[in-house]
Symmetry: C2
Subunit: 403 residues, 2 copies
């Protein structure tokens, strides 16, 4: 692989031109993986490890990846990044013996090749050198400020006194708002893995089963599908009304609503979907309320197309939910972008005037939480296509009625 598949390179170039930037530098776990496809484990697990990707304007093919020596083994697996210019910093913990020339040792050979790269003193020094090599030491550099340590930023400023360094976390969010086909593939898989896990959970939901037992079924299904847990909201009966209900010891009773609002990580991409079930025949009140939120979500989905503003989708969904049976329906948002982060641009909310573009991926949701009663929700993930929304999901959106 020699070209980015997650990074929307032309969108990054356009943004740099629009903001008069000569380069962008990714520094957070999400932005580094987005820009390089490299999954820097330690950076995903904690905040401090410094990994950077330099994206020079109009020559993104010349991108540079800067990583600690102790992460090189992750760069030795098959196609971990499309970037060929890799710089390493920090000491090595590897011992060497003559590696057998066998396919089983191909990763070892690749680690050895990477270890032969010169060792830079530290991340800021390596970044300054990379920018200098690209002729950008007097340039205007947008640095994603969310992952760079204050000490490294200060050191970079000292090493490149003529560079103009500006924050770029929001710029990365803007670029990431429109997804590439490779991103959409991962998001589709993530959504479908999650809905299968939800169905596995519904298949075992009956009176007497605890929320915690159902959560174990849900999570084990994610694991078996090679995904990892992210959000697991699961509440039965009155607990369905708690927006972030964490699965507890409560056991389901006849008549209970069961609400899941859940997601996973699949190849670093996220899902966030919701489905509800009821144990036994739904009451009229539940039927009406569910009909209203489904009508709201449907109207939101139908409003989606390129050129429409995020707040217009919000208004359409609110109007339909109110007209559909919940006249007092009130929400701050009815969805959000999703990608390598769970909340990407835009927010389907009042006041968000982002214009929808082809390739945006959106979660559309109309939850209803009534204290003293129950909570219901339906949430689907869709792609903005030229003629409207295309769902990434396979399961129906109606309220499940369980034995």
């Amino acid at each position: 692989m020699t070209a980015p598949s997650l990074l929307h390179a032309s969108r990054a170039d356009d943004l740099m031109r629009a903001h008069d930037l000569d380069a962008l530098v990714a520094t957070s776990a999400e932005n580094v993986t987005y820009a390089s496809e490299f999954w820097s484990l330690s950076q995903w697990l904690r905040r401090r490890p410094q990994v950077y990707v330099v994206l020079p304007r109009d020559r993104i093919a010349e991108a540079v990846l800067i990583a600690p020596t102790n992460a090189l083994d992750l760069l030795a697996s098959t196609e971990p990044t499309w970037i060929s210019d890799i710089r390493r910093y920090g000491a090595s913990n590897f011992a060497h013996s003559p590696a057998p020339d066998s396919p089983a040792h191909a990763e070892h050979a690749r680690v050895s090749t990477l270890l032969a790269l010169p060792q830079q003193a530290g991340p800021a020094t390596a970044l300054a050198a990379a920018l200098r090599d690209k002729g950008l030491d007097e340039g205007r550099i947008g640095i994603d400020e969310s992952g760079m340590s204050p000490a490294c930023l200060e050191e970079l400023r000292q090493q490149l006194p003529k560079a103009a360094i500006v924050p770029a976390d929001l710029h990365f969010r803007t670029i990431r708002a429109v997804k590439t086909p490779a991103e959409i593939d991962r998001l589709r898989r993530a959504a479908q893995i999650t809905e299968r896990a939800v169905e596995a959970c519904f298949a075992e939901a009956r009176a007497g089963v605890s929320e915690r037992e159902l959560a174990t079924i849900f999570l084990n299904s994610l694991i078996r599908q090679d995904a990892r847990p992210a959000l697991t909201v699961l509440g039965g009966g009155p607990r369905s009304a708690l927006p972030a209900a964490q699965p507890g010891e409560r056991r389901l009773s006849p008549g209970d609503v069961l609400r899941l609002d859940a997601g996973c990580y699949y190849r670093n991409y996220r899902s966030d979907i919701s489905r509800c079930a009821v144990l036994g025949t739904p009451s009229d009140r539940l039927r009406t309320a569910y009909g209203a939120i489904l009508a709201g979500q449907q109207a939101g989905i139908e409003a989606i197309r390129p050129g429409v503003r995020a707040d217009e989708v919000f208004a359409a969904a609110m109007r339909a939910a109110r007209a559909g049976g919940l006249p007092g329906y009130h929400r701050t948002h009815v969805g959000h972008g999703i990608g390598i982060e769970g909340y990407d641009v835009p927010n389907l909310a009042e006041g968000d005037r982002t214009v929808l573009e082809e390739g945006m991926v959106l979660c559309v949701e109309t939850p209803y939480y009534e204290l003293g009663w129950a909570g219901i929700q339906v949430e689907d993930t869709v792609v903005v296509r030229a003629h409207g929304a295309e769902t990434l999901m396979r399961t129906p959106r109606h309220l499940r009625v369980l034995g």
Copy 2:
């Protein structure tokens, strides 16, 4: 609960006195949970949500917790925080109907009580008001800079022009280095859950089984024990030599080393342990190398006691591993603190002159990665007690020889 059990309050007070601070403010997911016991889901899932805990010096009982209205349901579960002074900001998405006065609706009643609190305009406004209420608006305030958004920090400075605001992320790390009994309980559970999952994995490890299949066994065991995955390094044969080996399609063969370096989240606390197995009779070379790293780890553990420096533990472990059969053994560290983060203070490394204190919890590890051959490792979690290290673990540390 009306007093903190995770937060080491006297240590926080001592540190504030030593650094002439009138209050500390926690802002990151880890520091907020540590200070308040409140698990703010959205903050743990992503960076942007603003949740704060104000800890006034010498009157930590008067602490204030500031949270978004949409997180109040998580504050309505049983004993989510010891803090009674809760402030909320942002709009509510709740509808209300008269709540039945039943135990099943106790959480609803508590949400209603919290919703009756005045709604503050935003997080910075709420924080400024809390500091003013505590008479701290001209004080010297240490703010954990890692979780506060730049915009909120700027707004706070404008609202409290006479306060001196200094960074405090490192101060929180210093306080957190010595664990309370409640923290040690969670760390013990996390370590033991993980070792049980490792043993479950070893029980199924045989020629023909893939790394991915073993990882599924490991992860499902974590889930069943009410833990969540964190780090899962699992490599067989040559892949055991890759420090961060991610479980892949490779199947085990006779003679393979199988190395796990793995951890979980249990009630937000972390584990990080390592065990190795071999399929069939170990070679002399493997026996010798494993004996050396075990001797190194043992020497490190034996060196641990209050008053000893972190770099002295490092030196003891290195010396013993070299004397024990790996004369060229080389490492940058032989372990680290662990707590609500996977890497807490201190680092058992050359140059870390931190003096060990009773109550520190340390992972002690002596991995050996040899390209061209294999990787082996042993890692245990111990508490620093008055007379030496007490292990938190139950399983033996020898190389497992599997059928």
